[in-house]
């Protein structure tokens, strides 16, 4: 009975994480479309939410990686998964509060690794999986998006540079509807799968599913719904950072950045790499800026984002580990997770209240 209550709390927390993931990562998907005026904010966000939902049903390769290749299922309990999720949600909200586009994916993996280490020691972590499927792709993916967008925008300017700006700008704004849609689809399939993977891990740990089982349909559908609702709610503070503060984009740069991001995420999803969509699209935005003129990129802002990236894994791991420690004070039953959930909800309400007192949502640049 107690383990079932914990499982219900874990599933609810995982879906809450998925919501914050969509909320936090809306910027990745729509910022370039909004900043180049290819679409109005409301239309871009609604379109992205719809395609996020659809994307979640496309593949389960990444879910399998998260469920099987990051931590040993034998050392995992639902409480470990719960503590990891709290670490990820807390870091997502901290970076949202300060307007930094950090990685929800790395927060999730960091949180789960941190709580697993506190629960069972370092043997609980599958080092090969974390290094080979998470850390190395984490370094390569944004660089790849940077290179693809940089080469792409260089060739674009060679091809259309002497044509009438009006026709070219209109054309790339239309193109951004497709590239933005593709990016939303890619985001939905890669990011929603992480929540599917984490719920599947909890179900396996609880004995509800066999080891190596695929996510059941209700898990896929609920994860798709949660990320789509989060995306529709939007994260305006991060949209401004990604859309206007890194570089001032024209429509061609927006198209190149989104195209590069979508290509990298979709290719990686095919091979089951749980990428950070945040890292990838920001790499694409910087590449599209540097491809036109290196000084066009506001490297100071890019540096702040880079620092947030570096901090994400250890910070989420520390919060996840600490959360697990707190839950164990109350024993191995459902009381610890229930109390932590109540405290977390109170802190989230406080953060939203403070943020709403400090100003209205940031208008699109």
């Amino acid at each position: 009975m107690s383990s079932d209550i914990i499982l219900v709390i874990v599933v609810g927390t995982a879906l809450a994480f998925d919501f914050t993931n969509g909320f936090h990562d809306t910027a990745n998907v729509v910022a370039t479309s909004i900043s180049t005026r290819a679409a109005s904010p409301q239309v871009a966000i609604a379109f992205a939410a719809l395609l996020n939902f659809a994307g979640a049903f496309i593949s389960i390769s990444v879910a399998a990686t998260v469920a099987n290749d990051v931590v040993n299922a034998g050392a995992i309990t639902p409480t470990v998964v719960f503590a990891g999720l709290i670490g990820a949600i807390a870091w997502n909200l901290i970076t949202w509060y300060f307007g930094l586009p950090s990685s929800s994916s790395h927060a999730l993996i960091g949180g789960v690794v941190g709580s697993a280490v506190v629960a069972s020691g370092f043997d609980a972590v599958i080092a090969d999986g974390v290094i080979g499927k998470v850390l190395i792709p984490a370094v390569i993916a944004p660089l790849l998006a940077f290179v693809v967008a940089g080469i792409g925008i260089g060739l674009v300017y060679r091809i259309v540079g002497r044509q009438r700006p009006g026709t070219v700008t209109r054309g790339f704004r239309y193109g951004q509807i497709v590239s933005g849609g593709l990016l939303a689809l890619a985001h939905g399939t890669n990011d929603a799968q992480k929540t599917m993977g984490i719920i599947t891990l909890a179900l396996i740990a609880n004995g509800t599913l066999a080891a190596d089982a695929d996510p059941p349909f209700w898990v896929i559908a609920s994860a798709a719904t949660a990320i789509a609702l989060g995306t529709y709610s939007g994260g305006w503070r991060i949209i401004r950072t990604t859309g206007t503060r890194i570089i001032k984009m024209d429509a061609a740069q927006g198209y190149s950045a989104q195209g590069a991001g979508a290509a990298v995420i979709l290719s990686s999803t095919h091979f089951g790499f749980p990428l950070s969509t945040t890292h990838v699209i920001n790499g694409g935005v910087m590449g599209a800026g540097a491809g036109k003129r290196v000084s066009a990129v506001r490297w100071g802002v890019a540096g702040n984002i880079f620092v947030a990236w570096l901090l994400t894994l250890p910070a989420a791991a520390a919060i996840g580990g600490a959360t697990y420690g707190v839950t164990r004070i109350f024993g191995t039953g459902a009381l610890g997770p229930a109390l932590v959930t109540v405290a977390a909800l109170a802190l989230v309400a406080l953060a939203f209240a403070r943020r709403s007192q400090q100003g209205a949502p940031v208008p699109a640049g």
Binding site: I58, V147, V148, V160, G171, G259, A260, A263, F271
Partner: protein
């Protein structure tokens, strides 16, 4: 040790697919826009044959872009 841990083949294939798809679709769509822009200019200059040629190039490039996007989604979904 690192070579064993890192899935080199998958990573290289990811990099190659990203490069080809990302740059390829951007270039093909740019050609579509080039065709549209040339069509507008040549039509105003009363050169209908050249304008039709530019429109054809643009149309083919647009069709190729949409086909490439569809193929990309199908390939990814098969993973």
């Amino acid at each position: 040790m690192l070579a064993v841990v890192v899935e080199t083949k998958e990573l290289l294939e990811t990099a190659a697919a990203s490069l080809v798809a990302g740059v390829g679709i951007t270039v093909i769509f740019s050609i579509a826009i080039w065709g549209a822009a040339r069509f507008v200019d040549l039509s105003r200059g009363e050169r209908p044959v050249a304008a039709a040629g530019a429109a054809l190039v643009g149309g083919l490039a647009l069709a190729a872009t949409l086909a490439a996007v569809a193929v990309g989604i199908v390939v990814m979904a098969s993973g």
